[in-house]
Symmetry: C2
Subunit: 312 residues, 2 copies
């Protein structure tokens, strides 16, 4: 039975898997630290793929999820914030030269959207938005059963719309983006600032906070932690209203670690969404739910991309 | 030669035209006030179409541009702010029953985008954003040569993203939308407020202002008028940066009366866009220009829709 090879390249870890063309569970999954020792990242990726290469089966092709902006048409990674030196890397060409099979590449957040749409919480929807809220805010958009890519693959940068002019600095260098207000580190930074200005909190003895600690403190009733998540949830809801006006989808899927804060984040999000939507028509028949695939979303999204190499 | 009938229904005027299937200039154009006397608007539309119906030629179908949110799949107009009583109107069914030919309907701002893409400043682009800035802010988006409609046709409400939380009230009832800051009436309202607070201006003797007067005053060097257009242009630029991050198009077309303010508006717009874009990649090969079709955009966009009824 022919197989697909998929690899999800993160800043910390590379995960690779081999899927039989007729199955949605992998035959084999292997992991490797992305950056360790003297071997270059590219060689580590090559070596991991060699490890899972099936002995007797044909390989239809390879699909890669990459942690940065990608031109999927040219097969080029423009840059990867967490992998030094990976700039304007012609990954498709390098992979084809090495493995002699068709290769497709995509941005990891875009492919997570594709995965949730094809195998997860977005199944059956023709118009869907996926937002992942963790260290950053990214995502992907499905329009008429197609992934939104834009002219060079740079579309769907969901976290980088301005929601607060002259707001906090974003990881991308601009101000007031959704990511600068509602990502995990942004929530933590805001709470730290409040504490440094004298706000009372059970977290006030800690110098550095994480969104996870804030989420736990909110569950224990800590008012500052509750306010911090409320603020993030409200801005997410306001931005989501804008996105519904732009895309008019039938499903919004929320992924990423920060969404595990649960109702402390999601209740203010839903409230702000209801309050900021132009007409209730946008909310009729709208599924607003959390992601279904968990840690598997990377590999499953990359599998969905691999499957575009051949209809099975 | 078979023909198309197209009609652009506005709050003030209905324009209807008859196009031969092989031509892009109309055989005949007729106009009628939308609301006048006792005859209902629908009957006025029927009568205008009767007037231009070709005597001897086959009519392939009718296309309508409508001044409000439309479900193009069901052929229903949800509502038209400027035509009282036109709510949840099944226009396609009513038109088919009356004229016995295929009928397609669309939102006027969406169809203007389609017109500029097919016949105007957006020709040859596969990914394009059209923004019209006049009484409101609307537009349309072309993605991979397709008009963005969303699940029920309510997508591409370009003017209704929140750019200033707790900002001015928008025509739609929400706060801080781009339209509430950068539309013609919003620019005028801001200038009026500044004057009432004592700002010096050659316009200060006037009680009610229009964006046109402000544009003229800016050309004469009036500092308040210049600041008013600068403020609107800056917010348009910030919003445009967000839209480039979302859609990654190769063309942005600016239409509507307010864009005729020229550089007083467009220079701050371009400046804010450059300053707020995440990476210069979004600006490489980007065409940012004003619309080409002028007053004809309504009929030409509706013709583009009509042509989907039959490939010629």
């Amino acid at each position: 039975m022919p197989s697909y090879i998929v690899a999800d390249v993160g800043g910390t870890q590379i995960r690779a898997a081999c899927f039989r063309a007729d199955r949605q569970t992998p035959e084999r999954v292997e992991r490797l630290a992305t950056q360790s020792g003297v071997m270059p990242v590219l060689d580590r990726l090559f070596s991991l793929i060699n490890t899972i290469w099936p002995k007797n089966d044909e390989v239809i092709g390879i699909a890669l999820a990459l942690p940065g902006p990608v031109d999927p048409f040219q097969g080029i990674l423009f840059g990867a914030p967490n992998i030094p030196g990976w700039t304007n890397l012609p990954l498709r060409r390098l992979m084809v030269e090495r493995f002699h099979v068709p290769v497709v590449v995509g941005n990891d957040a875009n492919l997570a959207a594709l995965g949730e749409w094809k195998f997860g919480a977005g199944r059956g929807h023709h118009h869907m938005i996926y937002i992942t809220i963790s260290t950053g805010i990214g995502g992907g958009v499905i329009i008429d059963d197609q992934l939104l890519l834009g002219s060079r693959g740079l579309a769907a940068e969901i976290g980088h719309i301005t929601v607060m002019p002259d707001g906090p600095l974003c990881g991308c260098g601009q101000r007031g983006h959704l990511e600068a207000i509602a990502s995990g580190p942004s929530i933590a930074r805001w709470a730290e600032e409040q504490i440094s200005q004298g706000a009372a909190s059970i977290l006030s003895s800690q110098k550095r906070l994480s969104a996870k600690e804030i989420s736990r403190a909110a569950q224990q009733g800590d008012p500052l932690a509750i306010t911090a998540l409320e603020r993030a949830g409200t801005f997410l809801g306001v931005a989501l209203a804008s996105y519904l006006h732009i895309f008019n989808p039938t499903a919004v899927i929320l992924g990423g670690g920060v969404t595990q804060s649960g109702d402390s984040l999601l209740q203010p999000l839903r409230k702000a969404l209801r309050e900021h939507i132009m007409t209730p028509s946008y909310l009729e028949n709208l599924t607003l739910t959390t992601a279904a695939l968990g840690d598997d979303v990377g590999l499953m999204g990359t599998l969905a991309l691999a499957q575009t190499l051949r209809k099975t």
